[in-house]
Every structure is written in C-alpha cells, then in structure tokens.
C-alpha cells in the first residue's frame, strides 16, 4: 500500500481508496480477510483509529463486513453492481471535465474530440 503522509487527502481515505480498488479489481477476493487493523497501523506507522476509520468506510460501502473477533472479511462482489458503480464514477469525472470545459468556453464537440485524441495517445 502507498501512503502519502503530507497529502491533502486524509490518510484513512487513501487507505480506503486503495483497498476498494483492490476489492473491485478482484485482487482481494470474497471471503478473504483484510489485514488486522492494528497490524496495518503498525505497518503504515499510523494510529489504529485511522485504519479503523478506513475499514469502517469500506463497511459502509458494503465492500467488507466486520466479523466479531476475527476482523474484516471481503464481501462477494456483485459484478453488475460494480459496473454500475464504475459507471457512476465515469459519469462524475466527465461531469467535472464538462464543468471545467465550460469555464473556458469549450463546446461539447471539442471535449469529445479531446477524449478521442487522449484515447489515441494512450
């Protein structure tokens, strides 16, 4: 896991985002346990409450479940739901891009072209 100590994104968010990525991409599979909160805190050199908050966030999103006395287990992921979620993310990013485009007077057509150019460049 990568942690930026001085980033604007809170550390618990960074952890949650990376674990979410691993779960959604299938790196962490259903039934697997996340590292213990205190073990992860030790490895990342951060406080226990920070890792706990990250795990609670994942819990709230339904990605993992807290098992009494055992830790946090990865839930089986609904592929259709993941797709849905990802789609929403794409939507959000595009909306942001459109907002930014508007501020400098770019038309939707121009944005579409830019996307095509970027896709080719990649």
């Amino acid at each position: 896991m990568k942690i930026l100590q001085n980033s604007e994104i809170p550390i618990y968010k960074q952890i949650a985002m990376q674990l979410k990525e691993e779960i959604l991409s299938g790196k962490l599979t259903a039934g697997e346990y996340l590292p213990s909160i205190r073990g992860l805190a030790k490895d990342l050199k951060i406080s226990v409450i920070t890792t706990m908050k990250a795990y609670e966030e994942l819990c709230a999103e339904g990605l993992v479940t807290s098992v009494q006395g055992k830790g946090f287990v990865v839930n089986p992921q609904d592929t259709a739901m993941i797709r849905e979620q990802r789609l929403r993310e794409v939507e959000n990013h595009l909306l942001e891009a459109l907002e930014a485009a508007k501020t400098i007077g770019m038309t939707v057509e121009e944005v579409k072209d830019l996307i095509t150019v970027l896709d080719h460049a990649e």
């Binding site: 205190r38 805190a41 226990v48 409450i49």
Partner: protein
Amino acid sequence: MDSVIVAKGLVKKYKKFTLGPVDFEIPKGFSTALIGANGAGKTTLLDTICGIVAPSKGEVTYFGEITDIEEGETKERIGYQAAQGMYPMSWTPYDVAVANQLGFKGFHEERYWELCKKYGVAERGERKQTLMKMSDGNRIRLRLAAVFARDTELLVLDEPGSNLDPLMRDRLCGQFREYLEEGDGEKTILFSTHNIADMENVTDYAILMYDGAVIESGFVNELCERYVLVSGERATFDKIQRSLLVEDRNMSTCFGFAKAEEKEKLEKAGAVVETPNLQQLSIFLLRYAEQQNS
C-alpha cells in the same frame, strides 16, 4: 466499546492543587493520550489511577470489574512508568532488573537486556553505571526497557516521549504499535504528553486537561470534527467574532477556532474553515480554557 478504566468523580486533593472531580474512560485496545500543559494534573491523574497515591474521593474501575487496585494481581496487569523518581538514583540497570524480577511475575529479564541494548542504554548485566550518572534520555530509555519487558495489559506512561531524541521517539511509537498489535484489541496504552505533535500518529483517543479538570475527550477523528479552524480577512473577523472561541488577529490575515456547528455561518460570512489536527486542536482548546479561566 469496552473500557479498560472508568473513573467517576475522581478527586485528589493536595495542599496547593486539586485534581477533579474528573470523569473519563480509557477505551480498551487503543492508545490514549493525556494532553495538557505543565501543572495541569496529568501526573496526579496517572498516579491516582495507578495506585501510586490514593484518591481523596471517587471511584476507578479497572478491566471492567475491579474497583480496588490493590486487589489480587491488578497491579501485575498494569505497566506503570513515572516521569521522575521511578527508581532510586543509586540503582544500576542491574538493580532495576533485580527489582523488577522480584516485584513482578511477568518480568522477562532476557527481554529487558535485549531492549536495553536495542535502545543503546546499557549492556547486559550493567552493574556500574548508576541512574544518577545517566542522562535524562537514558533514564527514560531504561524505564521503557523495564516496562516493555513485562507482560502487561495496560501501559500507563508518564511523559514517555519527552527528553527523547527524534529517532528514539520514532522507535517508541513503533514499540507502541507493536504492543497494540500483539494485544489484538486486548492491550491498551495510556500516556501523557505536553507535546502531542510527535505522538499524533500513535494517538487514537485523547483526553485534554486544564488546571485539574478534563476539558475534552474522545476518539481523535470525532474530537477533531467537533471543531473548525477558521481563517479570513480582518473585515470578515469583525463580523464573525461572536462565533469564535479563540482568535488570533494579524494585519494581513486572522486565525480563529470555533465549534463545528458554526461552520456554515462562518463560511457564509466569507471565512475559510477546515478540520484541525490534534496538535492544533490541543493548542486552541488549551488557549480557550486559559481564556475562560482569566
């Protein structure tokens, strides 16, 4: 959440200082920082709950059921280290080992000497150098080696980070996390500090003290979210003055500190707000307490 210590109406009266009455809880499985200025009563509070001095009034419950610290093996389960005067100054590292061996069942001499070596304070079996001849930093290292060499469920450390160099303080934080991980929710740390910045990333729960009273306590994230740091122009500050608990006015910009409920109002007035970190929160809360007091 389980509490390892619950204090109710705790009072300790001295001739010139009175602690409390204070009520607080120490959550089990976490690291709790007791923050306050010098003379706020941190040491008195720690001494009172660890049975070093008897409380004048009030009740403390240990490990969920025990109300008398002298009962059975309660003290065996608590690893207490004072900031000063823990051992007679004429003792050597060897004497400290002997004393702990005799005093506690769960003391591992082997582990003690390993830690002494790791912290660079003494070689195995050191019988020459007395505490009197050691630097303050080395005395703390020795005390830490002694307390970490014991099997305990609750560590109570008075100012463990002061007088330590940055490297050793980092090592201490590592030791804290290792202890918590070992316990897997069963081991707890309570430590006092007047400099929270270096210990912030091992602090889960904080208790802030001012002049013998607990002024605020809670899990760090929740605690910090109860308040906001405010920044803005002088003109803006003239408008929002009444919402601020503490303020700092300069020519070019002003800083302030307010309750989180005021956030919207402050933003509407044109100030920028953000959630403080523990260090900032401690400073402003202590300043606020001081302001209220005078």
